[in-house]
Symmetry: C2
DNA sequence: TAGATTGTTAATCGATTAACAATC
DNA sequence: TAGATTGTTAATCGATTAACAATC
């Protein structure tokens, strides 16, 4: 009961760092695939698209896995990061909503190699229960509870329309799922202890549009200024 | 030339706020669809999944669009946010890479209603040039430059395999595209002035896996502590 | 030993939050 | 006027960055 407080001495990794660990992992895999055995923080930072100070600071939360004057052993660091993230084991995942996006997610081959295994595809529409996507049969949404328990599923992916998202989330939580990746364009609410991450295509595009508009405005101002400069 | 510096007096909206504006926009649309004409910051914050202090702080960067003691007019605020983001106009978008994910993106209906118009689908594979997805024909990747100029495309979406991403990005930049949404699991580098946002499925799942693993560890500690408590 | 590079410190920057004065 | 709610202030928190001592 009070155990959580007493044992909270374990290092806490900042959320911003956690979000970058998978990026480092991917960069290390790319380096390893290129036959590179050792790299400096500068090399790895470049491959990951961050600056080296940030990279070293991030890695320092995990431990001390480099050698001063030398750098990092690519395979060793890769293993340490994979272990820290928790992808040295495979995580069973269910995908709910097998429309266009659900299809694409189910077919995504990057899953297996990165620590995840799609154990079931679920859809509420009986018309889809004939289908097999990437070797996995589409099953009725009502099977969620049985499947989640059978495979000890902790992570669920929502790829349904927005209107269904909250109900799907509720059912996932009831089935014992405690991490949800939500692709539906809707805010879902879940109890404490359940993590939700959201991926939203049109929000990403809108953020780009905002910056694009600002660039256009700056450009217009520059041209006005240039014209006025020409007159002066 | 120096115009950019001299006219930089315009309010600057923090990046974290920019990223939330589309969320508020969506929440306001949901409220409007539900027939709600006026809302308080508390109402809107709940709908958007943030706390009301953050919402009010965010809105304060745009201006003063509420009425003290009353709240916000849903339609008016929605328009102001849409104008700020730049989605009162339609942005032409091209999607490159029409595999499973590209198909799903091309078919995504949320585009049109949220300020974007897919003007072209491009793929390097000639086998795909027969296809029509969601009413848009798939064309050769080499047409990018012509299409980008013809439609004044500013935003490009990369949905190719990782190996092709950097080349596609280079060609997009050469064609005058200055905002890129990258779905390929690769870091791409672009010149200054070009914005890139990245969406990465397996990175999102890995972040969830990390937290899931921590929950499992805490749980294990709790059980040990409970057992020890029972013995004491 | 000299050169290279890590891991850490400390300063800076940006984001969040609670509280409340302003005001409808 | 009394009640409600915004917009803003100021304190707090977390993330980034540069610099460098430690050390291979």
């Amino acid at each position: 009961m009070t155990a959580r407080t007493s044992s909270e001495t374990a290092r806490v990794i900042p959320e911003a760092t956690v979000a970058r660990l998978p990026v480092y992992l991917r960069a290390l895999t790319a380096l390893a695939d290129a036959g590179i055995r050792t790299c400096s923080s500068e090399d790895l930072a470049t491959a990951a698209g961050v600056n080296s100070a940030k990279l070293r600071k991030d890695l320092s939360y995990l431990g001390s896995y480099g050698t001063r004057g030398v750098g990092y052993d690519v395979d060793y660091l890769r293993y340490q990061i994979a272990r820290e993230i928790g992808v040295t084991q495979d995580w069973p995942v269910v995908i709910v909503g097998i429309g266009n996006l659900g299809h694409a997610l189910a077919s995504y081959s990057g899953f297996r190699s990165r620590g995840f295994r799609v154990v079931a595809l679920l859809d509420a529409d009986p018309e889809r229960h004939e289908e097999v996507v990437a070797g996995v049969a589409v099953r009725p949404f009502d099977d969620l509870d049985a499947i989640a328990h059978e495979h000890a599923v902790a992570i669920g992916v929502i790829a349904t329309p927005a209107a269904a998202a909250q109900d799907v989330a509720d059912r996932m939580v009831a089935a014992g799922i405690t991490s949800i990746l939500n692709f539906a364009p809707a805010v879902i609410s879940v109890p404490d202890g359940v993590d939700v991450r959201k991926v939203d295509l049109s929000i990403e595009l809108q953020i780009l549009a905002y910056h694009e508009q600002r660039k256009a405005h700056e450009h217009a101002r520059d041209e006005v200024a240039a014209a006025m400069g020409g007159e002066a």
